[in-house]
């Protein structure tokens, strides 16, 4: 394991954007009230550059922070752990659309894990009621995250790459 997590200072500063965006929820980015899954935009380029172990650690940290913001009984940590590790395994991406596809898949994984927790917890109540709402959220997030990732994640990738060159391990 390397120490890019600590050395990569400016990258970590940009990390602050994730909780800020999660709190802000700019309405012009939303479709039917659903927002893109913000942490994926940051996690994808960061994990690609820093490898699976760092991706796993940062995924865990983001998950904990987002859980503390949303303060409910469900957790986003498992989804972000999987995504961080998986994105780290992929290595450099050649094409722009790959960012979009990966971000969409990451959003799908996180959304499904969250939805599963919701269903399990409300199993006795009436989970049928939750299906339309859950599917709307998952597909809304997949669409928006996949749409914006080729722009936002690539910008972040370039920013992290420059930062890595300035602060080599």
């Amino acid at each position: 394991m390397n120490f890019s997590l600590i050395k990569n200072n400016y990258s970590l500063l940009s990390f602050l954007l994730i909780p800020l965006l999660s709190l802000w929820n700019p309405i012009w980015f939303s479709v039917m009230g659903v927002q893109p899954y913000w942490p994926i935009f940051w996690l994808l380029p960061w994990s690609i550059l820093n490898g699976p172990i760092n991706g796993l650690i940062i995924g865990f940290i983001i998950g904990i922070i987002l859980d503390s913001i949303n303060n409910d009984i469900y957790t986003q940590v498992p989804g972000l752990l999987i995504c961080g590790f998986w994105f780290g395994k992929l290595g450099t991406l050649k094409y722009r659309y790959q960012y979009g596809l990966l971000a969409s898949l990451g959003s799908l994984i996180c959304g499904l894990i969250y939805f599963l927790q919701l269903i399990l917890n409300n199993y006795q109540k009436n989970p049928d009621w939750l299906f339309s709402f859950g599917l709307k959220n998952i597909f809304g997030q997949i669409l928006l995250t996949g749409l914006f990732a080729p722009v936002l994640s690539i910008c972040l990738y370039k920013f992290f790459s420059k930062n890595l060159k300035k602060n080599p391990f």
Binding site: L23, M32, G33, L118, G134, N137
Partner: protein
Amino acid sequence: MNKTRRITTSRWWNNKNLWFLLIFLFLIVFVRFSKSLIYRDIYYFLSKPFWPGQFQRELLLESYDKELNTKLKQLEKDNLRLRSLLSLKKTTDDLKIDSSVISRNTGSWWRKIILNKGSRNGVTIGDAVVGPGGLIGLIDDVSIFTSSVKLLTSSESQVGAWVQRINIHGLIVGVGNDSPKMIFYSKDIDIKVGDLILSSPASTLLPPNIPIGIIESINQDSRPTTTANVQLLANPQAIDWVQILKTKI
């Protein structure tokens, strides 16, 4: 003596146009068949200041208002006494905190809003939050400067409510969309679309009788309960200012 014959052409109606005659006749007919509506209406306004019962009527209304106010005060006192005996929630006007919405998440997994008043302003977990129209949720988390509101539409939200018209209690459960469900734990109840839903007077979480919403549609087929979709009166997506109701037992 010879009587001279009058010259008919000298009569005035012979000199006027025929139209004049027609209009005159029409007016006559109108006045006859209008049954003096215009006169009566004019008379209504002219005689209004001199009506005999006006002053007495005002006196009666005033005394009736006084009587109702006395009854209301007495009932409020009784209500507070009984609620304190049952350890239920109550609010007073001096325990309302105005607050603005600084973060809004109303359409995704997390249906919450964040307010700019926190523990230093006296906000505590469990306080009810109302917007223009009615209840929007309960405070579920408080920091020094902010507080987070769990909206009624959240899938984690459950509050007691009642339909005042038929005096039936139920539970409003958030299902993640904009229309929460109301569950009535009995069948064959006389709820109707459009019935007003208020917070339950028997609730230990909420102050009584805060407007919540109206029945949007009813699902009688659900077993063993009756469920209804509720249209909330206050729309959290469009609210910028809210009031936090401090509750006390």
